[in-house]
Amino acid sequence: MVLSQKLHEAFKGTVERITGPRTVSAFKEKGVLSVSEFIIAGDNLVSKCPTWSWESGEPSKRKSYLPPEKQFLITRNVPCLRRAASVEEEYEAAGGEVLLDNEDNDGWLATHGKPKETKGDEDDNVPSMEALEISKKNHIQSISSYFGGEEEEDIPDMADYEGTNNLIETDPATLQSTYLVAHEPDDDNILRTRTYDVSITYDKYYQTPRVWLTGYDESRMLLQPELVLEDVSQDHARKTVTIEDHPHLPGKHASVHPCRHGAVMKKIIDVLMSRGVEPEVDKYLFLFLKFVASVIPTIEYDYTMDFDLGSSSN
């Protein structure tokens, strides 16, 4: 870890210890959330997008200012079929991005600035039943045909034991294409299917939600956090996405650093208000996740709802 980052972490930790959590709402003024507003927004996310749920995480890491059963939000096993770099051109071509901050080079980009266009993108990502039928024949291949002959390095000494248990289960009712790869959009035989656990914690220092990514390869083995950066928009990969200890789970995870979340949310809220839309705090996480989608464009977590961005109200 860089020294400046370490110093900042120490400072942040001290401030978090000695200051109380935010109790007064400053949602419209600063784009930040109080603890109770985070709970309200989280409850709404869980009810509208049921793949998300509240969890309590490691008991030893529990934060006293949050209810024990509502420590953070998580959605598990979210598919990510393409690396972010491969879709960046498409996003640029689609013109669906709104530069929210051009004061400096760290400006956030919000995709989905034009909701209708991005809607089309999403539809393209969901294969129809017909596509799946066809893909069954073409795409599902056993992993050994991909990695033919290559010994797996994570299975060191098993060959000696293989077969000694006489475990060959011959059963005609077991589907024999035993290692099934998900539907993949392209045809060039490169495995891209990853899955992610995406979690949202409350960052007491910045008073905003914070997104964490835990990535898995196609056999659901943990991805090194460095590989997770391949699924982060290249504008953000080395700057706004950092690898740190998760506040509620063991291990290091990639996280979208929250230092500018408040400012970005404030701008989104200002845009909405200028269009005559009164933003409601329980929708904060939908706005937030829409903007996070610009950082992780290919991780297909759920944040959709019937939601008027205000584009048609004027």
Binding site: P50, T75, N77, F147, D154, N165, L167, R220, D302
Partner: protein, 339 residues
């Protein structure tokens, strides 16, 4: 692959359950092993979690989290370890054999361990426990060796399934949206979403779909089977299907069919593989099938436990898995990454 032809049926093939172990599970197991279990290697009751397939591209897994293990006494917890009614965490009972040495791990008699778990499922089917608490049909087995010096964990899952001999055949298997009329499909979606949204039923993975002659669908508990009969009603046997494949049902249907044929003596069964898209019923991805069962000889006899299969394959082979967590557990490595 199961065919969709009506040529008298082909063998119904089930997509195997896949396991996933969260890092937190190994952390808590290590802590329990050091602080509580010591050299005691008696089997431990654990809880696995699963949910219906929720994205059309990937199957869901039987997942172990730190909450799958009993609480470590060194940690104070005021919350119940497992919160009921979490629709993304349908609880499944399992058993963990964690050995003290790698040799003992390899020496475990996997065949008889699997048989033992299959016997429990068989007994639950015969006693009717599986009708009251259907999650016992999904009982699973995990063997492991935790090498706390190297922070590596050897493990192997089994999802015991009772084997029908001769195998079950399928005469029809198609997307539920094509099998139901559009009125029925709408009503089934509403009823399934209601079942999934109620904290009382969200974690119940097996159920009945009853469709009245006016196309109105209701979801009922298995124990209401008798009450659902008659009046020209259609009754389907539904289950949360973790599998995403368009031509195969997932593993949970296997023991469910064993229950259906033993309990209600049915030879033709309509089943619903319930799947979701973004957390809501999706009948385009869900499947309805018609299975034809030839009740195997000896299935009336409780003493005569059928064969079972279900050791999980690792990349297509019958071998154990190993994960190394030195990066997040080794104090030396942690010190380096923190420096």
């Amino acid at each position: 692959m199961a065919k969709q032809e009506r040529s008298g049926g082909s063998i119904l093939q089930f997509s195997p359950f896949q396991s996933f172990v969260d890092e937190g599970f190994w952390h808590r197991l290590s802590s329990l092993k050091l602080n509580k279990f010591g050299i005691d290697d008696s089997p431990i009751a654990i809880t696995g979690f699963y949910a219906p397939c929720s994205h059309s591209q990937v199957s869901n897994h039987l997942t172990l989290l730190s909450e799958s293990l009993p609480c470590d006494e060194s940690e104070q917890s005021s919350v119940p370890a497992i919160s009921l009614g979490n629709r993304n965490r349908c609880s499944v009972p399992g058993i963990l054999y964690n050995t003290n040495t790698l040799e003992a791990y390899h020496a475990l008699d996997k065949k008889s361990l699997l048989k033992e778990e299959a016997k429990k499922i068989w007994e639950d089917i015969h006693t009717g426990k599986a009708v009251e608490d259907s999650a016992v049909l999904l009982r699973f087995l995990l063997i492991s060796f935790a090498d706390l010096k190297k922070w590596s964990f050897h493990y192997w899952f089994a999802f015991p399934a009772l084997v029908f001999d001769p195998p079950v055949t399928v005469v029809e298997l198609k997307p539920a949206s094509q099998w139901f009329t559009s009125e029925e499909a709408d009503s089934v979606s509403v009823a399934c979403n209601g079942w999934r949204n109620s904290s009382l039923t969200a974690g119940v993975p097996f159920f009945l779909v009853c469709i009245a002659s006016n196309s109105h669908a209701t979801i009922r508990h298995l124990k209401d089977w008798e009450a659902c009969q008659g009046d020209g009603r259609k009754v389907l046997f539904g289950f949360y299907d973790p599998c995403h494949l368009p031509n195969n049902p997932g593993w949970p249907l296997r023991n469910f069919l064993a229950l259906i044929c033993s309990r209600w003596n049915l030879k033709t069964v309509h089943f619903l593989c319930y799947r979701e898209n973004r957390g809501f019923a999706d009948l385009g991805v869900s499947l309805v099938g018609e299975a034809v069962i030839t009740i195997p000889q000896g299935w009336r006899d409780l003493q005569c436990v059928p064969n079972a299969v279900g050791w999980e394959l690792n990349k297509g082979r019958h071998i154990s898995r190993v994960i190394n967590l030195a990066k997040s557990m080794d104090p030396a490595m942690l010190a380096i990454s923190a420096a």
